[in-house]
Amino acid sequence: MKFEMLLARKYIFSQKRHTLLTICSIVIAVTLMALLFTGYSTLQSCMREAAYAQAPYHMRFTDITAEQALKLSRLPEVESYKKASMPDKTIRLDIMLKPKSIGDIHTYVEDVANRELGMDYSKLEKWREGHLDVNYDLVERDLIDDNGRKDRVQLYCIFFVFVIMIALTLRLIIDTAFEISSKEREQQFGVLQSVGATPKQIVGIMTMEGIMLSVVGIPIGLAVGTAVAYIAFRKIAASGIADVFYFGDKADEVLKFNANPIMLAMAAVVSIAWVLFSAYGTGMRVIKKSPVEAISARDNNVKKVRRHTLMGMIFGWTGKLTSRNARRQPKRYIITILSLTLSLSLFAGVGSTIEAVTNFEEAIFAADADSDMYISTEYSIFDKTGYRPIVEKLEKSKYFSHIYIDHGINAFTKNKARMAITYVNEDSYNRAFFGKPPISYDELKNSGGYILVTDDEVYSGLDSIELTFNSLNMAEKYIEEYNQKVKEDPESYLFDKGSLYMDFIHKASEDGTLKRDASNVFKIVKTCPVPVNENSYMYSDQDQNDYYAGNLIATIDQYEETENTMFGNFDYGISIECDLAHPRYHMPAIEFINANKDMQLSFDFFYEVHNIRTITSAFSIASNFITVLIALVAIVNMINIISTGIINRQSELASMECVGMTKWQLYKMAVIEGLQYTIFGAAGAIVLCILMIFATEQFLIAVQIMTPEGVGSLIKISTPTIRILGATGFTLLVSIAAAIVPLKRMQKTSLIDRIRSVE
């Protein structure tokens, strides 16, 4: 081994550029691996902390005697316990078990209750309610019961399959670094063999070099990987993800970064294995050549080429040469194309999915919730000014920028077409017309009339319109029944009369007792088309079965002038919508609403939107890290394969120059080489994305989340395609640089020296 060590050391110190490249490659690969392992252990740790934070014990016994508590606390499996005396003199005991298997937790708990507390097995199930709580999640995560262990093994298996897949691609990075380094020493290895070095010794030199470089590269990689994982973790934690998934008080404490030494050691072992495999593999490749072949450094063992290639058809002879060169190392070529395809489709897929989720979320909230909060109130529809004190309170709080009131009923025209009548306050009026009302709120108020919003030309030019109200006059028996229900349970129906009200409407509709006979003539001051906006709540529905002719809009002051008969004989509370003046007022606003007995928060859209955006942003951060990870692998592989290819063909390229190839023709060939990877990578990625979109849509149709008509609405094919093309442009630039840099460096060596390397 002395000889191998000596030579390895000599090469490491004499070929500084290659040594640096190899160390950098090891560092990149190990960094990515450490990132993966640390990320996994941190995820495990966060899930464990969440389980602990929900219930900080493995078992909690309540309502037990001091004697029973003593017996339980002395169990050999108990690691620690917390005892609390309750006001009724009973004891509550929280137990944490030792981290070793107790078999099945259910059996263990039953045995303990039977043995220590004298509970009969047949009565156990009933006894457990109110006496024993087991934190099964924590028990599983702390690997105390066998099921938890089994689950953990399964998880590890899935994780390691993923690691192996990534590892195979990552190994290429190290592999190519060794190959570049060995290629330039091929002649020297030939000479060494010719003066008596055995093939085993040559392989030994490379392997020893791998070990020595690992000593430097692996610790740096582990440190950098852990640091990157920590930065990613801080970013994800800062997105507020803990608040979304954990509803306890100390959400932030659930998120704990965990650089598990065992996981890091595993990352190191996997990394050492790669480096050794790569070094050994390179050594084995070196000795495949006879000393004479190595000394003359001839590399013309191409056995088969494809005569007609796409690149040849597009770019002529340079394209043909490029295409044929790529097939000299078909395995590496395919892996690079595949990793490029994967990283491009991941990049585009993740971006497009996030965009689709965001669009979907915005569409939902824009259509269903164009305000931050829904507040239920108890003011009566017959009390025409009942809303005022509530609005005043809300305005006075300063927590809200907009307060929307829109109170409407359905009516029918003479030809039985539906028409909605809506009374709105100023904020709601402006919102209804998306800030561009046909006349000002004050003009409408002063006119004492209505704006007719319709797309139906039949109604244009009218000064007034007679409508029959859907005024919901119900039979006395239902009103009595309704009032009785509310009286029986006033708490439940205080702010939620809406659903009860709907139940009665259905009943009355079915038995034909619902009367809709009140009518009125409404003065029209302006007719305008329905605002062109997909989020408009105004009707422009041409459905023949339920035809809405339009909307009559008037101010809330006009509502005060209306007859109560318009609204039938049924009273129910009305909702007010609000926008927060600033996101930081969210919690104070909720506290304010809760403190007022005449209002109740019925829906908090702000919270829902915030949650979805937090999840989207955390998903985006995590997936972007994975995308960057895979993209880095793909790009490093591409750079390596292109630059190795050029270095390996140094003499061949010199030959071409000798027979008249110009520098620009050489560069053109290099550019086409880069183009070849990016074109095929991008084409693969586009096809993959289309297939993924198609598969997702088919799945959603199969599980009936989407209808066949909705195909194409989830993610448009153009969305990932544009992203892929953008990323392809960047990849192309990198590939061109990867080709031009070694070519430029090569040009510094005279043609003669390059030719002589052949002779």
């Binding site: 061949e652 027979v659 190839m661």
Partner: protein, 228 residues
Amino acid sequence: MDLLKVENLCKTYGKGENEVKALDNVSFTVPKGQMLAVIGPSGSGKSTMLHILGGVDRPTSGKVFLDGQDVYAQNNKNLAIFRRRQVGLIYQFYNLIPVLDAEENITLPMIMDGRKPDQKHLDELLELLQIKERRHHLPSQLSGGQQQRVSIGRALFTSPQVILADEPTGNLDSKNSAEIINLMKKSNRDFEQTMIIITHDENIALQCDRIITLADGKIADDKLVGIK
């Protein structure tokens, strides 16, 4: 009429103590159609001179004129075009492109030039080189002799004014060597091409019109042979 004129050619490698004069004030002329052999011991500057004549390596000083044109007065791009059109280089180890088949290797300089190879001319050349049957074989599928024929074919295909051969038979057995030299002689005779051949083989040198002997970068001897 002199096709090639070499004036005070010097080539120095290294600097200071490490300075080596590969060529030291070499001057000579070569008339059109002459077959010239350059001989000399290893390190005498034969290959350096050949590379400079072929536009592959720039001289430290001195000039090379081909058909009256100062070769090194050209920029790099024109020098590449000069190599492509006006000289044909033949190497001892063939220097073929492994991914191109025999025919593609032969036509490579013309393809680089953006010209369409003349199929009739190619067929005739392949016939002459006796590799017509192996025109679609890759270099790895050819014997040493066949590879050298392809290399000669590549040098001849554009009908350059000068063919420069650096030990073209150095890697071949005697039978193949004889065939290659006969081929070159035929080309010299039929196409009136000027040939400069570096060789260690006295028999080959004696088959040329003239022999220049180089020693320590200088012309030690320059004589006409006359046996063809």
